[in-house]
């Protein structure tokens, strides 16, 4: 089986988030980026486990600038066999990324395309569904478990108040979430071997960006809390009227 795992980069979870260029662009000054945790911990590790159990190849892919190579190298150090970087501008939107990944997956005969359920930065949940559409494959969203028996995948999903168990025959696209696998650390030998495994950089092939961000807005911080005791009802009403201006 051939597994193609989509890897994106996201700001480190402790990064201070701000925007520039009239709030149209994320301000990456001084921000450290990491591999998107749901891609790394769940999608990649589960693909590696399935490959280790029954053979195959795990390729990691990213659409982005050349510098993203280092995230792909990290994924190789964790155990991926090879990597592909489709070189593109920094903030490319999902449609365009999905089109290019789908094309690559189709041309190179991958059986499964796996993404994390979302990036922890833009949280758009959109990539997997689009890839599946472009490849004309079923899409299983937010899977918590994935077993593979021959051609048949058994996939668990959480649903409101319970779980759904699906069987999919043949190729499909899966987005993975917590439960699917456990974080795996790159060990020293993996890191040293990462240099020797193939990482192909190919030019972007398809399409123009169709969605432009017109503005980002940061949620205003919550104001200070003012406490009133039971015998201060009058003061409370007055504050709601004159300070908070909500009644």
């Amino acid at each position: 089986m051939k597994y193609l795992v989509c890897i994106s980069k996201v700001p480190d979870t402790t990064a201070k988030i701000s925007f520039k260029n009239e709030d149209k662009e994320f301000n990456s000054d001084g921000v450290t980026f990491i591999m998107n945790p749901t891609d790394e911990w769940y999608a990649l590790v589960r693909a590696l486990e399935l490959k280790e159990a029954s053979g195959g190849q795990v390729t990691v892919i990213n659409v982005g600038p050349k510098d993203n190579e280092k995230f792909l190298r990290s994924a190789i150090a964790i155990g991926a066999d090879d990597a592909v970087l489709i070189e593109a501008n920094e903030e490319t939107e999902s449609y365009y990324i999905a089109k290019n990944i789908a094309k690559y997956a189709q041309e190179n005969g991958y059986n499964f395309v796996i993404t994390g359920k979302e990036t922890i930065s833009f949280n758009s949940f959109s990539l997997g569904g689009m890839i599946a559409e472009f490849m004309d494959l079923p899409f299983i969203n937010q899977a918590t478990q994935w077993m593979l028996n021959g051609e048949v995948s058994t996939i668990y999903k959480e649903i409101e108040g319970g779980e759904e168990v699906l069987e999919v025959t043949g190729n499909c696209v899966i987005s993975a979430q917590k439960g699917m696998a456990e974080q795996r650390l790159a060990n020293m030998k993996g890191i040293m071997m990462a240099k020797t495994k193939p990482l192909a950089i190919i030019p972007i092939a398809l399409g123009e960006e169709k969605v432009q961000v017109s503005q980002y807005q940061v949620t205003p911080p919550r104001g200070n809390c003012k406490m009133f005791t039971l015998d201060q009802i009058d003061e409370l009403v007055q504050a709601l009227q004159s300070e908070a201006k909500v009644i």
Binding site: M188, I191, M192
Partner: protein, 388 residues
């Protein structure tokens, strides 16, 4: 607000692999050490399964070549691993230091091919634990005075004596032991657990390195097969070369402890308010933080440069002494000063300063005390021996 602990961008001097190594070891420490370390330190127990975990990560003998189970890393990578491990706890770094520099290094450097094949791969995976016996009850700073002896018989040596303060001795499967032969020359040999007359009593009631097992090595007419002797190395340069490798790692390691204290104090200073403003807004507290990051930065540059020299085989023992001495001192001072910054909270186990400060009391003592390293620098610059 600049919360970086890499003030002079030392990172940019690292290779991509070295940065990956740091991240991986840091993730390991955040996931597997920091959440549990206080409880083991409080209970005065070593962390079970620590060695196999360090082995799986590749942190045991990382610079040993791959054919013997290591990862074939360079010296800066080794230093980075030590730094990140000690950010968790000096006990964890000590375990990795001893296994790597004091057990695997001498077996790799002085051992026979059979010894290397027999021990190194299992030591690298953590399946086997090793310890290093140099210090004795009556001879600490002056190991040349050692009393432990070997006497040659037809196919074995008879070993008698005792070693004290030995990291991991209660857990060890093997001990690299330094003893004098009948000609009074220091020799090294590998003693295995289970050999008759060999025991490893535990040292209890430490206030420092409480999550590390420390003990003695006692030898009463232990018959050690001749094939367990390092064949060619004679004299103190054997154990001292091991100490050089370990001390180099310590110079990096303690920066990790200092960084951890600094990270916690900086965060605390921005969150805790007194007199209507954050602690970080008071000059006296800023002085502590500013001095801490300055000393951390200087220490990083010292160790990084020492790593470059070590990779080129040019680092002198005197340079290593200077780095060990300086970096341990700044780390222990940072831990103590920044502990104060947390007020009462600073004495609690939820915060790392008290634990790091107490651990560093061992680190400033072992591998050559603070004073002894000063004498080494003193002798290097004056040419006069002031030890005796």
């Amino acid at each position: 607000m600049n919360t970086s602990t890499d003030y002079f961008l030392v990172d940019e001097m690292l290779t991509e692999e070295q940065r990956l190594i740091r991240r991986s070891v840091r993730d390991f420490v955040d996931r597997d050490i920091i959440p549990i370390i206080d409880s083991y330190a409080q209970k005065h127990e070593y962390i079970p399964d620590l060695m196999p975990k360090l082995g799986a990560l590749g942190a045991l003998g990382p610079y040993i070549p791959e054919e013997y189970g290591g990862a074939g890393l360079d010296q800066i990578s080794y230093g980075i691993i030590m730094q990140e491990l000690e950010r968790g706890d000096s006990a964890v770094r000590s375990a990795a230091s001893v296994q790597s520099s004091l057990v695997m290094y001498p077996i790799f450097t002085y051992g026979t091919e059979e010894q290397k094949r027999k021990y190194l791969p299992k030591l690298a995976s953590g399946e086997m634990i090793g310890c290093f016996g140099l210090t004795e009850p009556n001879h600490g700073s002056n190991p040349a005075g050692m009393e432990t002896k070997i006497i040659e018989k037809s196919d074995h040596f008879v070993l008698n004596g005792a070693k004290m303060w030995i990291t991991n001795s209660p857990l060890a499967d093997i001990a690299v032991v330094w003893a004098k032969d009948e000609q009074g020359q220091v020799r090294g040999l590998i003693v295995e657990r289970g050999m008759n007359g060999f025991s490893t009593p535990t040292t209890h009631n430490k206030w420092s390195l409480r999550a590390s097992a420390t003990g003695e090595l006692v030898f009463q007419d232990v018959a050690v097969p001749k094939e367990n002797l390092f064949p060619d190395i004679r004299g103190l340069k054997g154990p001292l070369s091991c100490l050089n490798s370990a001390r180099y790692g310590i110079s990096w390691g303690v920066i990790g402890a200092a960084i951890h204290c600094y990270e916690v104090a900086l965060k605390y200073a921005s969150e805790r308010n007194q007199f209507g403003k954050p602690l970080g807004g008071f000059q006296l507290q800023q002085k502590k933080l500013a001095e801490a990051i300055t000393e951390i930065t200087k220490a990083q540059l010292l160790s990084w440069r020492l790593g470059v020299l070590k990779n080129e085989n040019r680092a002198t023992p005197a340079q290593i002494s200077m780095a060990k001495r300086n970096n341990v001192e700044i780390a222990i001072n940072i831990a103590r000063e920044l502990r104060q910054m947390l007020g009462g909270m600073g004495i609690m186990g939820e915060f790392p300063m008290m634990r790091h400060a107490a651990n560093l009391e061992s680190v400033i003592t072992y591998e050559g005390t603070h004073d002894i390293h000063l004498l080494i620098t003193g002798m290097d610059v004056t040419g006069i021996n002031a030890f005796g």
